[in-house]
Every structure is written in C-alpha cells, then in structure tokens.
Symmetry: C2
Subunit: 434 residues, 2 copies
C-alpha cells in the first residue's frame, strides 16, 4: 500500500515531512573505482578505453572501430520502421521549435558617460552526450540533449553510447542523425566520461558533457566537473499529480504508473481535495498493476514511495506542491491554468486532463531533462542555455573614467589592493594633464 | 623572470601548451575534515556552529548573537567615511543598473493544434552569500553576489561573514545593507556552509549558496551541492592583456599587477605583436614591483606564472586568447572592438586603453565573479540567471493530443515504457469514442 495522508490528520506535518525527506537513492559508492578508471584513461588513452570496454561491455574494439562508421550507422538506421521514424522526426521537429525560442540575446548600451556596456553569448565549441546502453538507452533522451546543443550552435557534438555485447539501438542512432551528432563512440561508463573530458589519441576532448547514466557515469561526471562543464546529476524521477474529482481515476492512475515504471526508486504522488477520488485512483493503480509489463518495477515504486495526499482545498495543494518542488507536475482540476500560475517550484508543468506527462517526455516540445530531488527550488531543466555562455563587455571613454574612476580607486584602497587603484590612477593622471 | 614566448620560436607550441596546463592551485585536501564538520552541524546545529566558531575564529557566540543586531550593524556602518560610502553607493547603483537588464522573460505561445507551450521564470526563495573574513573580506564581492539575487527577486538573502577575533568590516556591512541583505551571521568556514545548507535551530536553510571562500568553504560547497544550488568553485584569478605598441607600458604593467596582487597563484599574461613593447612592459612591471604594497604577493605571482607572449599579428592573438579562455581579457589595440567581437571564450572583456580591469572589479556594472581556469569555454560569470529557475509549461487540447499522441505512443513502445503509452492511449480512446 502506498502512503495515504490527510492534511486534517494530527500527525500530517510529521508524515508529510517524512515524505519529503524519504531517501530513495541508494547508489553504490563507486568513487574510488571511478578515480582509478579516469587516471587510467588519462595515462593510457585509447588502450585503457579499449581494455575497459572489453571487460565491461564484452566488446573488442580498436582505435579504428571506437566510433561507428557511416556505413554501420546507415545499416542500423535502416532497421527503424517507417512509423518509428515518423514519430521520431515529429518529436525532433517539435523539440527544435520549442528550443529555438530559447536562444538568448546579446545586448549593448551606452552608460551615462558614453561608456559602452553589454554582453555577448557564444556557443560551447564541443559537447559530448552520454547515452546509456541496455534497457535505459532512450532515443528520446538523445533528442532532448542533442537538439538544445545543436540549436545553441555547438559545432562538434559527439555521443558515447555503450553497446554491450555489440548490440546497438537503431533508434538511438537515428535520433543522433536527426539532431546533428557528428560521431558516435560505442563506449560507456566512467571510461567514456574520462575520454570525453581529457581526450585520447582518437577521441578529441569536449567542453561540456551532458546526459544520464548509472552510478559510475554520475561519479565520473562529478569528478571531471570543472575541467569540463556538466549538466545536473539526476536522481530518481518523480511526478506529482494535482487532481480534483472531475477526472477519470484511471487516467491519473496510468500517469502515476508512467513515472513508477521508470525505476523502483521513482516516486509518484497524487494530491487531491477529494478523499474518495484519491481512493479510486489508488484502486485503479492496483488494477493496472495486474497487467502492466513493467509491474515488477512500477509495483515496488508505488508501494514503497507512492503517496495519496488529501487536502482541504487547492490552496493547500499549491503550498504542498511547492514544498515538494516536483520534477514533473500535472495539474488536472478546475482553473488549472490559475493553479499553474501560482506554482513556484517545479521542473515542468503539464496543464489539464489532456496533457499526460508522457507527452512531455517525448513530443510536446519542452525538455524532459529536469531537476529531481527538490532541486527545482534552485535549478532548471536542460535548455539551450546549457550550451551557451556569456562574455560581459565594457568600454570606458576618458570621460567615463574621469567620472567613475575615483570611486574605483577609493574602493581599491579600502580593500587594500593598491595596484587596482594605480591602474586607474595612472590613466587619470594622464587625462588630468591633458 | 616571467616566461617570454615568441610564436616564431620552434618550441612555441610546447611552451604555450605548458603555459595552459600549468598547475597553479595547491589547495590542501580538507575534504575529510569538512565532511566531519558538516555532519557535526547537521547533528548538533547551533551548538556545533558556536563551538567551531570559538575554535577557528576565537569568538564566543550564543544563538542570540550568531547574527549581528541592527544596532551593531549601524554602529559599524557609522565608521565608514563619506567618501567610501559614496563610492560604494555609486558601485551598487551601476551594478544594479547592469543586472536589471538580465531578467529573463517568460514566454507562451500556441502550437499548431491549439496547444499552449511556454515557460515561466521564478526566483529562488532564499539565498546565502559567503563573505570571507580577514584580508579577503571584500565589500565589492558583497555587491556582486547580493545585487543579482536582489534583482532576481530572492526574498530572503543572508550573509555568513566570519569575524575572526571579533573584527568586523564596516564596508562589508554597508554593502550588505545597500543590497537588501536581511541577516548577517558572523560565522565562517565549512560550518557556515553547512548551516546555510541544512539549517540549525537559529539559522533557516537557504536554497542557493554563492560567494568565494578558502579551501574549507570550497570543499563544503562541493559537498552540499545538490541539496542546495551553488555558484562556481573559483580557482586563482587571471588576466590576459592583448596590447599593441601604441600603449603606455606602465598602464599595462599596473593592469597585470592588479591581478598578480590578489594571490601568489594569480596569473597575468600579456600578448603583444611587438617584442620591444613586451620587454618595455616587463621592465615597467619590475619598476612598479619595487614599491608596490603587495609586492610580496604580486612579485611571486608574476615571476612564477606571468608571461609575455609575442605574436606575429592580432589574428594569432585572438586564436591564442581563445585557447587561454581568460577570466579577464583587456584589449588595448587598434580596432579593439573588432578584435573583441572575434573573441569566443572569455569571462569579461575590457575594451580600449581606458578600461582597466579594476573598473570591472568595482564599478563598471558587469559582475566580477567570473569563470577561472579556462572554464569560460563552458560557463559564464555570476548573473541574475543564477538566482532564477525556469518551469516549462505545456497544455494540450484534445485536438493536439489526437494529432501528436500517437507518435508519443509509438516512441513509448519503442522504449519499452508501456505505462507511458497507456497514459496517452486511455485519453485517445475516450476522444475517439466521442
């Protein structure tokens, strides 16, 4: 049974606090192993990557076969059905259209003394995208990571996608092609992250690494952070549905399960102002679980981490939602737009009964790489902004330096930084002489 | 003697590569100590913070005196001279005017099937700013960290500023007041970061922590990252000056020294197309070093990490500058604006002979918290964007779900995520029945 909470209950605050602080992640501590792997790749390059791939993925590669050849890619892509291809192309088009609007603008203007101030955005030169192998090898994630980079103007976009036992995912290769990826290396794990960060004889280093991965990949990304940029370190996924009784309990049930089926550590929560409806949804979940293909994953997730929270009104739902700061938030109730407008902390909001989260996972347009574990309080989903950076600009006129230079000197002196002051003073003396 | 390189020399590439990979940081490994301090603060709260402050800062605090009182702040601020106050106010006004322009815009639009797509920006609720004690207690850094947060709309902005032996910095307190800081705790080190991230009986936790600090502070920020947001982990500061012979060598020399005086690990590099000018600058540095107050710091920085690089033309200067990806870049040459426009990787550019970097450190308007150690390749300086986060929005119409839902189902099936597909299918069945 998942948790049932009611905000009327005496122990609600304590129970809700427990729900918030529930530890769902139990990544093994692989940091020492990962440190060794990174050091090995830095020292031996290709040879280390090839050896580790033989060990972990049972694949014998050479420097020449680290990457898929153009022919291999075409052969794999030919296996994609027309229906799948059309779906992926529609997804790519919609994701691109959404992210096209995210490009930030340069700015420059004149200050009060004729000085120019502003900034300029430029794209990261090279980005590497990690795509997990096996079950969690998702073509949708390729689109969600690569298209923002492509829109940003990243010139060199490469993928590392392990192919355990040589099994490739044709849809992943097609997704890579649709989003402008140049090279796909069939390597994975910490060795792939190390190769992307430091380079090898065959693999050029990149400036930014994004994409999901297992505990080894996450630990490696943490370790190379600073040398290169990384996206977030994502935790288990989560969904919060706010729904009133005017919904089909079965729709809400499958939405909750669509999160639960990702991972036994995933979390699905329903907040409703109607206890009977909450019970009806829980019943519908149990019904669906009987036949769901991934019930061995979704079942434990729902039992261990699922929750139905009954509130007295939708104001309370908004307050509790912001305390959860959910990765995904579905709002299916009267005045859903108004409720959505009052939410402050959420990675993505899906408004109305016709917007199941799965639409956002694949094809809506917004990114599906979103902040987990309450980090929507301070961070955002992946976007074009992750692949650009800003250079600030300033150009003083002699008049501007005369006007504001003395204040800079005063502050430099107060901070005990004499040369800072002298760099202004030397110029002001010349200007005063003229 | 600093390094002298000439791009004509046979061994230039190797020498320049050494310059790029020079290890300047030698932070002690304090991670284990920091882990203990964080655990202690989580377990014992105020009591741990108070004990550690007594040990490290020789200050006996109580829960009631952890923060400065309003009276104490006014008493300290009264010590600031009118000249210093005016300078700080001018700096705050200019920094605010610059950052006001950085607020990103919300967006929403209709897709091809009447669906609504968009995003909304909201401010982080609470931010904590770390201000080092002692020599590196810079009021300018308070403005540079707090004003972007204030502009973003952060409601609760607090500072942790240790006061070793009880000595406070009146200008820091004034800067805090000018930038809307609510509370100033006189605590520092890893214990302050732990208190900000996890809260204590007296100190409410925040969502984001920014600001510079020593090795303990940096290690603590790394450890609490994820629980809260952090800004970058900054390395030693650096400047690159691109200058032709039409400059006063002494101006360039003091600019190089204004970086060198920060820290023995700071790096100052001149790139010039005129070898004689390069030598003249190096001579001017030596002259200035004879009398500079902080020569004991600036001297070793210049000797150990300084460099003069002679290039054949300004095209080469641009190429080398992008390989350095400098934190601060001064461009003082003919067509400086054109050269600036061609630079891709730099934290901040100061254009023309009348824009010494010190202007940017204090009063120009742009932020002085900038990416170090070549990280301008993939990251930006501090800005309003660091204190806001984006929630993506989507609202499908029945028509939109009919149009794009089947593609989502196809992709869900391809990824083996049945419930994802069912969440779309359940709705489409109803719509098809209608």
């Amino acid at each position: 049974m998942p948790m049932f909470l009611n905000s009327k209950d005496a122990d609600f605050d304590a129970a809700f606090a427990r729900l918030l602080t529930m530890k769902r992640e139990d990544s093994p501590d692989v940091d020492a192993t990962v440190a060794d792997i990174i050091a090995d790749v830095r020292a031996r390059g290709d040879a280390a990557v090839i050896e580790l791939t033989a060990t972990f993925d049972r694949m014998q590669l050479t420097p020449e076969t680290l990457a898929f050849s153009a022919d291999e890619i075409e052969t794999e892509i030919a296996k994609v059905s027309p229906e799948e291809r059309a779906a992926l192309e529609l997804a790519a088009d919609r994701i691109r259209a959404y992210h096209d609007r995210q490009m930030p603008s340069d700015a420059s203007w004149d200050g009060p003394h004729g000085e120019m101030l502003g900034w300029r955005w430029t794209a990261v030169e090279a980005a590497g995208l990690y795509v997990p192998g096996g079950l969690a090898s998702y073509p949708s994630s390729v689109l969600m990571n690569a298209i923002p980079a492509q829109v940003a103007g990243v010139e060199r976009l490469v993928i590392c996608a392990p192919t355990p036992d040589g099994v490739a995912n044709p849809l992943v290769l097609l997704a890579a092609k649709l989003s402008g990826v140049e090279t796909i290396y069939r390597i994975g794990g910490a060795q792939a992250i190390a190769a992307l960060a430091f380079g090898t004889q065959t693999i050029d280093p990149v400036d930014k690494i994004t994409g999901p991965g297992n505990a080894f990949v996450a630990a490696a990304k943490r370790r190379v952070f600073g040398r290169v940029g990384i996206d977030m370190i994502a935790g288990p996924s989560e969904i919060l549905v706010i729904a009133d009784k005017h919904n089909d309990p079965d729709w809400v049930a499958v939405d909750l399960l669509s999160q639960a089926e990702h991972d036994e550590s995933a979390q699905s929560i329903l907040i409703t102002d109607d206890a009977e409806f909450g019970q009806a949804v829980a019943d519908a979940v149990e019904r669906r679980l009987k036949t769901l293909e991934r019930r061995a994953i979704a079942g434990p997730s729902w039992q261990d981490y699922g929750a139905v929270v009954v509130v007295q009104d939708m104001d309370e739902a908004v307050t509790l939602s912001d305390r959860i700061a959910p990765e995904h938030l579905e709002i299916a109730c009267e005045n859903a737009d108004d409720i959505a407008a009052r939410i402050r902390h959420a990675g993505a909001i899906f408004i109305g009964a016709y917007t199941p989260e799965a639409i956002g996972d694949y094809i809506g347009g917004p990114n599906h790489v979103l902040p987990t574990a309450r980090s929507a309080r301070f961070s955002s989903g992946l976007s074009v902004m992750d692949f650009v950076k800003r250079t600030t600009l300033a150009r003083m006129t002699p008049e501007a330096l005369k006007a504001i230079g003395p204040a800079a000197e005063t502050l430099a002196k107060a901070e005990g930084l004499e040369a800072h002051g002298l760099s202004v003073r030397a110029r002001l003396e010349r200007l005063n002489d003229e």
